[in-house]
């Protein structure tokens, strides 16, 4: 492979990884934007979505095999994760909305541990493997660069979802209400906006997006394990902060940037004679710290964001 081909292939790798980060970062950012909560359970919702997709497809694939069954399974996973996200919001977060932010944060860590350990116990800690029946290797070759069809679908789906979400928040009444609540909850109540309902909807949308990422991870990677949400959650959270937490385009940008930095860092550092993948986080996070020093509110964050 020539140097430019290697670079391009790593860009594609980074783009795919970044799409996953971005999809999950959206949920973090939306929730933070609306109630200033770092929802640490979000990575576990992603994991639950993956398990839901796997379980539903296990049953459904008998009736509808192939892509149709996968799409139905991902939709089912979205519903399940959406319900889970709503329940967490309704019973763990809503009663604490008036409490200090720190109590809410600890509750989020609690919810995360509950989901994590629950799935660990019922799966016995074993990894499950998703058999989509699709050809994961088939794809187009441009020189030595390879893009599989699944990768193309994956990038297209994430792009569509991000555009859809931007339109939803920017153009619909519900989206407008969300933005209003982010600015001032009390005034929203006075204006007759049902704040609790809108917060509920935010959680459902965020969780459904995480479930889509979980479903796509099932199809693309195949490994589903109770611990898969941990690393993903931390990376997505980082993406959201880099992009400017609370900002939707920022979450997408941050996710893609982190994915690209990791992939390119792995290759670049290996050229320098280091073990690239061992140092990639040092590289990626070093650059991210620089970005935050220069732009403390993240790339697209607003300066009036309230500190915790």
């Amino acid at each position: 492979m020539s140097l430019s081909e290697v670079a391009l292939q790593q860009l594609i790798n980074g783009l795919i990884l970044g799409s996953f980060y971005a999809l999950i970062a959206l949920g973090y950012s939306m929730v933070y934007g609306i109630i200033k909560l770092l929802n640490f359970a979000h990575g576990d919702i992603y994991m639950t979505g993956a398990f839901a997709c796997l379980s539903v497809f296990g049953v459904l694939s008998v009736i509808i095999p192939g892509p149709g069954g996968i799409i139905c399974s991902i939709i089912a996973a979205m519903i399940i994760a959406g319900i889970l996200g709503y329940l967490a919001q309704r019973f763990a977060y809503r009663p604490l909305l008036g409490a200090p932010r720190l109590s809410l944060l600890i509750t989020a860590i609690g919810v995360s541990l509950v989901i994590y350990n629950f799935i660990m116990v019922i799966t016995n800690g074993k990894a499950s493997y998703f058999e989509s029946g699709l050809d994961n290797s088939a794809g187009v070759h441009i020189g030595d660069i390879k893009i599989t069809y699944i990768q193309i679908v994956l990038i297209a789906v994430s792009a569509l979802l991000m555009i859809g979400l931007t339109l939803f928040i920017g153009q619909t009444m519900t989206g407008k209400a969300m933005r209003a609540i982010a600015l001032d909850q009390d005034t929203c109540r006075l204006m007759g906006i049902n704040v609790n309902k809108i917060i509920g909807i935010t959680f459902i949308i965020g969780s459904a997006l995480a479930a889509i990422a979980g479903g796509l991870a099932c199809v693309y990677y195949g490994n589903v394990q109770y611990s898969m949400g941990y690393t993903m959650g931390i990376k997505a959270f980082t993406s959201a902060v880099i992009g400017g937490i609370g900002s939707i385009p920022g979450a997408m940008l941050g996710g893609l940037l982190l994915g690209l930095l990791e992939a390119v860092g792995t290759q670049f550092l290996t050229y320098l004679g280091l073990s690239g993948s061992a140092w990639k986080d040092v590289f990626a996070f070093g650059i991210l710290i620089l970005i935050l020093i220069l732009k403390p509110n993240g790339l697209l964050g607003k300066s009036e964001i309230e500190r915790m």
């Binding site: 660990m120 016995n124 800690g125 074993k126 290797s137 611990s227």
Partner: protein, 380 residues
């Protein structure tokens, strides 16, 4: 304020007194010949992602113990197991070890992940307990130099010898290594990096995969670009199958091999068709062991499942202990320890003798290959 300090100091004092009692009772009980049973502590993962291995280890010990008890026990004493769950986690493991010690056990067996096993060894040493490590095989265990700790499984150095012969027979030249930074896989990778160049192989690149990371495509591209014709995965199965799948889907055409940590049917299950042709430097699988059929039948009859990767080593651990105790004629720690040091034991996993460093003298590694969704023996 004053009251609470008083209460706190009382609490601390009582904890200290209680724990010293526990220590005393531990001392007076273990290694004593006056009891009518021998209690063996089992340190293994019974929760977390390695639960399967922990249960398999425990069942293999149980099978051996039930056989021995039915035949009259050791020195007329019945054997009993006590579970200590290390969850594959170093911090949980030290708590589990303390729990095992406080039960007044006579011996300790087990040890799956090296990372979780190593921090417990000094604890067992201080409690004057012999620890027979059935699975964990990081050379870091040897370097601790604890003379009550014996490694039943061949250490990483033996795996490298087996790997070298595999590479020679396949005629490959440039080797890429992937580990996960934990005690076991980093140790194996470091050994390969140090030893393989001595046999004329070139280390193309060493990469590290985060535990549980979904995407390794950047590593795949880097390895392809390094020109490696042989990839050796040094860590555990769930992530290993992910690496193998992504290597194959990224059009990597070289040979892929995995270390003993990945030698389980879980690897085959996880890889699907991408696993075909993958080599394994494996511990002694019971299917390929001499006289293993009876063991497989008994195990299946008792537990209604197939024995796992480390079943033979665990089963042998108990029988080796039996041989040593009978030779020593006592449960006294020093006597049994010396008997193990001088043992010559023949079991399912081959002949076991110990070097002065308390590692097995003879390698028990074998080479397997995945063919038609099954492990097949490449060389004995």
């Amino acid at each position: 304020m004053k009251k609470s300090i008083k209460f706190l100091s009382l609490l601390i004092l009582s904890v200290i007194i209680l724990s010293s009692f526990a220590g005393l009772s531990g001392c007076s009980l273990n290694g004593s010949d006056n009891k009518d049973e021998i209690l063996i502590g089992v340190l293994a993962p019974f929760s977390g992602s390695n639960t399967y291995f922990g249960n398999d280890m425990y069942q293999s010990y149980e099978l051996a113990i039930d056989e021995i008890n039915a035949a009259g026990g050791i020195l007329g004493k019945q054997l009993k197991l006590y579970k200590g769950d290390d969850a594959g986690d170093p911090s949980v493991a030290t708590t589990a070890a303390a729990k095992i010690i406080s039960q007044g056990v006579d011996f300790v067996v087990g040890g799956y992940a090296s990372g979780a096993t190593i921090p417990t060894l000094q604890q067992f040493y201080d409690a004057k307990l012999i620890m027979l490590i059935s699975c964990a095989n990081s050379t870091q265990i040897t370097s601790l130099g604890l003379n009550q700790t014996f490694m039943v499984n061949s250490p990483g150095t033996h795996a490298v010898v087996t790997l070298t012969s595999l590479c020679k027979s396949l005629g490959v030249s440039k080797i890429a290594l992937i580990h996960q930074g934990d005690s076991y896989s980093k140790d194996l990778s470091d050994l390969c990096e140090a030893e393989l160049p001595k046999s004329g192989f070139e280390i193309a690149t060493v990469q590290v995969m985060e535990e549980g990371a979904a995407d390794v495509s950047a590593i795949v591209t880097t390895i392809k670009n390094s020109g490696a014709d042989f990839v050796y995965w040094c860590a555990y199965p769930p992530d290993g199958s992910n690496v193998i799948k992504q290597l194959r889907r990224g059009d990597y055409t070289g040979v892929i091999a995995v270390g003993d940590g990945s030698a389980s049917v879980e690897l085959i299950e996880g890889c699907g068709s991408d696993g075909e042709g993958v080599y394994v430097t494996s511990p002694p699988f019971v299917e390929f062991a001499e006289g293993g059929e009876k063991f497989v039948d008994d195990y299946k009859a008792k537990f209604d499942m197939d024995p796992g990767t480390y079943a033979t080593l665990c089963y042998d651990t108990i029988y080796m202990l039996k041989q040593a105790i009978e030779k020593a004629g006592t449960l006294k720690m020093e006597k049994v320890r010396d008997a193990i040091q001088d043992i010559e034991y023949k079991g399912l996993s081959g002949v076991k003798k110990f070097t002065p460093e308390r590692e097995p003298e003879i390698s028990n590694f074998i080479i397997l290959q995945i063919k038609d969704g099954k492990f097949t023996l490449v060389n004995p």
